[in-house]
């Protein structure tokens, strides 16, 4: 399922991930990197996780779906006009980009539609939380 927007069809999502209680005895404990607001990612990182081309991330930034921080780059890169290389993304940006790529290729909606869907999803999330609070009382 290839599509125009650059999402390369095959989702890297691991299906059927399950959390089991406790820990397996025979495998070592792995410490990963927590992608909090302090841990920033390059545009290449984001492209790889989302399985999209760099142009797609550019589109998302142009549309205002995600707003990366801009890091100072050295004169050589700046001179070459590598603006993309100075972009730094948070894990939340990456998550947003990944959902956007999925929605676009799976549901056949354009970027503006994706932006609207993401905004509405956030609102729904807030409302669900309120409903939960009301149901509890």
């Amino acid at each position: 399922m290839k599509s125009k927007n650059g999402h390369q069809g095959s989702s890297p999502c691991v299906q059927g991930a399950q959390e089991a209680p406790g820990s397996a005895a025979d495998t070592p404990d792995l410490s990963g990197t927590l992608l909090d607001d302090q841990h920033l990612l390059t545009v290449e990182d984001v492209c790889r996780v989302c399985a999209v081309r760099i142009e797609y991330i550019e589109e998302l930034v142009e549309e205002g779906l995600i707003t990366p921080q801009v890091e100072q780059v050295d004169a050589l890169h700046a001179a070459k006009g590598h603006e993309l290389q100075s972009w730094r993304f948070t894990g939340m940006h990456m998550r947003q980009a990944r959902i956007a790529a999925h929605l676009q290729s799976d549901l056949g909606i354009n970027l503006a539609g994706v932006a609207l869907a993401l905004q509405l999803l956030d609102e729904v999330e807030v409302l669900r939380m309120r409903v939960k609070a009301i149901d509890a009382t």
Binding site: P12, S23, R98, K132
Partner: protein, 327 residues
């Protein structure tokens, strides 16, 4: 292996025109998309619908599928007839490891694996479409969502995560293998944040390194806490006299039991904040207690008498005064 009725899955007639199939797909995809839907089995349904669409939207695959006949029932034990695909030329679509995870055994037996020369061996030998000799490519990143308990974010924890990893062997047969990892959940993690495990993604091709594995955190539903970002909420029942007279009550928090002061004249819905008792971190969240007034039941006559005496005593109290209903 079970037969899959793709027409039934899509909710369309066997003779439905291509436009109807596309419409049905879009509708179901919107309903069950895992990034949108909150249906319990959304992911499984979305996968099923995607597979059905993959076959029915492609006239070649659809014709081949139709040739199996209409007499099969969904979930019936299925074995493809030996020459079922004779006379069909399948074009396009490479079959990758990622696809293997996407499709059922039924699909794979018909359209994947050894179906075409140079089709199934791809995953084992590496390189999409067969790269040049000595081709090196970094493995794909993988991404999975995991459910953890809220307490894990307070204390930190180690959790065993089981992933289904698709693999293609040298003969092109696709299967999934379980891979269990013990992952440290750092203290202070929040919902939607990701943990990156370097080198735990798909293996690299040639000399290239493996990809990374990203785990996105979600909190499992808790019987009495609610989480909003780094803040945690609890509905706390108090008695009418505790609310009116004030009291010190024991309150559970994910970090342990604390003594909470209920100020006098508290009403239902009053929010009490325990600063910094939310999810820990550089800027820890807050813990909010929302008061509920619980009334004692009055099953016996003496209890009822007590309520009657209260009614007598608080004669002028009208809880509906604010609604303009007097008397």
């Amino acid at each position: 292996m079970e037969y899959k009725d793709y027409y039934k899955i899509m909710g369309v007639a066997r003779d439905a025109p291509q436009e109807d199939i596309k419409r049905a797909y879009r509708k179901l995809a919107r309903k069950y998309h895992p990034d949108v839907s909150k249906e319990a089995d959304a992911e499984a349904r979305f996968k099923e619908v995607g597979e059905a669409y993959e076959v029915l939207q492609d006239p070649e695959k659809r014709a081949a599928y139709d040739r199996l006949g209409a007499n099969w029932k969904a979930n019936q034990e299925f074995r493809p007839p030996p020459d079922w695909n004779a006379g069909f030329e399948f074009s396009g679509h490479e079959f990758s490891q990622a696809d293997a995870a996407k499709y059922s055994d039924f699909f794979e037996s018909l359209f994947g694996g050894n179906f075409r020369a140079g089709f199934g061996a791809e995953g084992a030998s590496g390189g999409r479409g067969g790269g040049p000799e000595g081709f090196h490519r970094r493995g794909e990143d993988r991404y999975a969502k995991i459910l953890i308990g809220l307490e894990d974010a307070y204390e930190g924890a180690t959790r065993a995560i089981t992933l289904q990893i698709p693999q293609v062997d040298a003969s092109g047969h696709v299967s999934t293998r379980e891979h269990t990892l013990n992952v440290k959940i750092p203290k202070g993690i929040r919902a939607r944040q990701q943990i990156r495990l370097a080198g735990q993604g798909a293996p690299g091709h040639g000399q290239a390194p493996a990809g990374d594995l990203y785990l996105e955190i979600e909190f499992g539903p808790h019987p009495y806490y609610r989480v909003d970002g780094s803040d945690v909420y609890l509905d706390l029942p108090v008695s009418p006299w505790e609310a009116e007279l004030g009291a010190a009550v024991k309150t559970p928090t994910p970090g342990g039991i604390v003594d909470l002061k209920i100020p006098p004249h508290s009403t239902a819905g009053k929010k009490l904040r325990l600063k910094g008792r939310g999810i820990p971190g550089k800027t820890p969240g807050d813990f909010f207690v929302v008061l509920q007034i619980a009334l004692p039941a009055a099953p016996i006559e003496e209890d009822k008498d007590f309520y009657r005496r209260m009614s007598e005593h608080f004669k002028s109290f009208n809880p509906r005064a604010g609604l303009g209903a007097t008397g």
